[in-house]
Symmetry: C2
Subunit: 593 residues, 2 copies
Amino acid sequence: MKYFTYKETALTGGFLYEKEHLNRDVTIHAVYDRFDETGRIGAFRFESDKADIFWDSDVAKWMEGASYILAKHPNVELEQKVETLIDLIEKNQGEDGYFNIHYTVQEPDGRWTKRPNHELYCAGHLFEAAIAYADATGKDRFLKCMEKYADYIYKIFVEDDSAMFSTPGHEEIELALVRMYRYTGKKKYLDLAAHFINRRGVAEKDGHSSYDQSHLPVREQTEAVGHAVRAVYLYSAMADLALELEDEALKKACKALYEDIINHKMYITGGIGSCHLGETFSKPYDLPNGEAYTETCAGIGLMFFCQRMLALEHHASYADTIERVLYNGLLSGLSLDGKAFFYENPLEITMLDHFSNEYGRRRFPITQRREAFSCSCCPPNINRLFPRLAEYIYGLDGDTLYINQFASSQLNADGIQVETETNYPVNGNIRIRAEGVKKIAVRIPSWCAAYDLPVPHTLKNGYAVIENCTEFVLNLDMIPFAIRSNPHVVKDSGRLCIQAGPIVYCAESVDNGENLHAFAIPATFDYIMQFDKTLGLNTLTIDAFRYPDTENKLYIRAADAPKLSPAKLKLIPYYAFANRGESDMLVWFNEKI
Amino acid sequence: MKYFTYKETALTGGFLYEKEHLNRDVTIHAVYDRFDETGRIGAFRFESDKADIFWDSDVAKWMEGASYILAKHPNVELEQKVETLIDLIEKNQGEDGYFNIHYTVQEPDGRWTKRPNHELYCAGHLFEAAIAYADATGKDRFLKCMEKYADYIYKIFVEDDSAMFSTPGHEEIELALVRMYRYTGKKKYLDLAAHFINRRGVAEKDGHSSYDQSHLPVREQTEAVGHAVRAVYLYSAMADLALELEDEALKKACKALYEDIINHKMYITGGIGSCHLGETFSKPYDLPNGEAYTETCAGIGLMFFCQRMLALEHHASYADTIERVLYNGLLSGLSLDGKAFFYENPLEITMLDHFSNEYGRRRFPITQRREAFSCSCCPPNINRLFPRLAEYIYGLDGDTLYINQFASSQLNADGIQVETETNYPVNGNIRIRAEGVKKIAVRIPSWCAAYDLPVPHTLKNGYAVIENCTEFVLNLDMIPFAIRSNPHVVKDSGRLCIQAGPIVYCAESVDNGENLHAFAIPATFDYIMQFDKTLGLNTLTIDAFRYPDTENKLYIRAADAPKLSPAKLKLIPYYAFANRGESDMLVWFNEKI
């Protein structure tokens, strides 16, 4: 399946459209300002010795995001900011093509000596930014610089093998090099990507750590392990390479890794990387809620991986996962006002647990989004993802148009015109008009128990395939439902969570009073659904129950089942938690059996 | 209420009797051997510079325990070990009376300079050992040494106020001084105890830290805070002093602190000090199960405190708490073979949670008891508690004999003869014969929903008071029942635990297969109770339920209540967990409503 790019498609209204606008109007500027304040922008002048090893990548991701915005919405001021950065990159790039602020200014003798230090990772993000800017503006000055850098890296790592390591300590450059190959047509970049991927877990110089997925040759990897962002960036590149080289062994590994993630290591919100120790995947089913790490970047990386898997294989599961991440564990990373960020996206906040004393504190994610972090990878990752959200909607394979996501949007490319009109995910009514294709394969989400599609169709791999039809309306049943987790997820045992459409819901104490754990919900329930303009989505008020108090005693004899009393439980979309001050929050509720 | 001492009473059979024997036959020797191997015994020769700041107290507690054993069971070899240590103490005690291995050998200039460093704590334990040995053997050589030391401490802290601090950083000496006053009759020691207690939270030299309960003057303290062992040792001394001085303000503080513990900060096992950060009390209702710290010593300290509260006030609640600790969270500290120890006594082991990687490990208590610890306070605390278990049974106030605990035992003192015959807590049948008292007040445990006492009686403060009756049989209903915790204890929300008599039960995966969280139990249930000779108590097999598997999917739509299947759940007494290899363990189970 080939994707239609963000330039070929456009969001025309609705929830995702609003988020795209929020990024363009607020977030892209907020991130720049924070990067300017923290010295990240100024560091490109090569005058400060404070540049952290990943600062190049932070700014590169912002430049990439700005480029996508500029492609559709010219903005002289924004373009000038990018141009100024490119001036500095051009000016400070080494004769040999090398570009890295930290190493050039602070560790001039350290170049290519420290594998974990993000050197190639920064290069990868600069490459992606350069491609994005060239593609968006037609100006290839930045890209030329980065091609020179890539050529130099090729020499160091392939021709000379002169670095102290063989593969990146933090993967990213691999997928950037595939992009560079695709954009420039230069096979050398694909070869370099393949070199890095194939040497991983093989090169003796690099050791064998599961933390950075070098514990095994990549084709032998079947379990998602180690640093979650590193992992999904690598798997994305593996899927890219599998597609380019028709490498079945690599594809098989990608499928195994994907299955391991979604069957054992993914939160209901699509969050991955449950453990804060090294920001890693944990053991299968180890999905603590309050301590969930689930970095925003890991969610974005999982979307990248799924998008590439969809290109490899037409199965709606990948689009289902993209949807789960997008509307839940990724969006939660951004505040409603577009200015503040979660790095970690927990599934529970119980302030009672957040104990500290002079001997330390129990470790928990922060409870309110912040405008800036010392490690600020997530904010610019949102900057570069949001302008391309439309890219996740439409795909083409032969004479079949794939509709993977639902949003009011237009596609006009390759002689194909498509228009989708919908308020999804506020409701499940989706009108699609398409011309120029023979077949339309529209995803029926796996969460959807019932749908109405009054045109002849067959079901295949999670898609309803319709032939010779230019207009139809699909209705997805958006009635709220309860979800139960695998009983091996002990932290969710005896619990339910609520989803409606793709939206996972949570409760906050700001709506429901203290002690959200005292609520119990049945698997089926009455509810009131109400559109909330601020959230752009529906809230739910469900008929639930509350455990009685125990007369201030700590323990009471339970002579009988508890006398639960009826109680209304107000639920909001998970993504919107923590936007009204510090509050307890819960996703998984006790089940009233 | 006055207690009858361990010398006046004797366990004559049954569960506690077996534990007393285990300590006398195995544990006292095992602890000595470990202390010898680790250099703690040898350190008394003052030749090694490796003595830790608390080593004196470790050995002193062992000496105290050995003394109680010697009082009733002469043992030349054991007595010789104590005598050899006393020889060394006598030989190495300073001219001025000072005795501390670490400071004398390693920090001769550091004496009385570092408040947190257990200097007075070690002294207190030496005092208790000396009193025990004198009382047990009639030989007062050790006590004379320690009186000299106490006199010296009086001079330093009361007369000269010449130390760098005013009160102990780790409380213990206060209660030891009250004991010394009671044994020697010298008021000076009571004054010194009062001095330390009254200066706490007042003395400017010491700062004001809640960690060691010096945040407020003791009479103003109402919340149990800080290091749990320090806290209950202090509260014990406060209760002692309140009794000796008839100090109502101090008594009121003790009652408030007791109420705070049992209503907000105590596990169902009687464990206290839920937080590993500084081994402290946490916030009210913060009682995590898997991470429970609940040090064995804190349980022992809570028993000390309750025993003293009972002396202050005739209310069975204190005896209820003693029973809860004794049969559950304290006994769990010792392996069935009497040789290995838990320092921490968690209420859940889920090995899935015990994740570690190169970036660290999630902190959890150890899962198997160990024979030795670098900080080895708990093992000798068991040594000194077990020989005196009989002391918790009988009390006297005026013409009323109080029966606080139930165990086959004899009392012969003050013209009173009592004999209790029972298999408690294997069953609830208790035959009591008493001569020489007018009234008998027998505790009706608060866990007991029904009892049979076929003699006229009135109920008062948790006791059934019987007049002019020399023999009766009390039958306590020992049918297993479920307990529900206060809904504010979020970690237990939607859960039940099972108790029968005073015994809290747990399940282990060694009996029930993996994933104990997949079980659900109703508030009322059928069961089979079976005596287990190895445990000395009953095991339970209850008719429970199991959640179904979810077809290997991580999440499924819960269209209806889960199809729970009937399942037998084997339960063993909590105290016996982790005696059959590493195993998951659970106390609080999902409730089937």
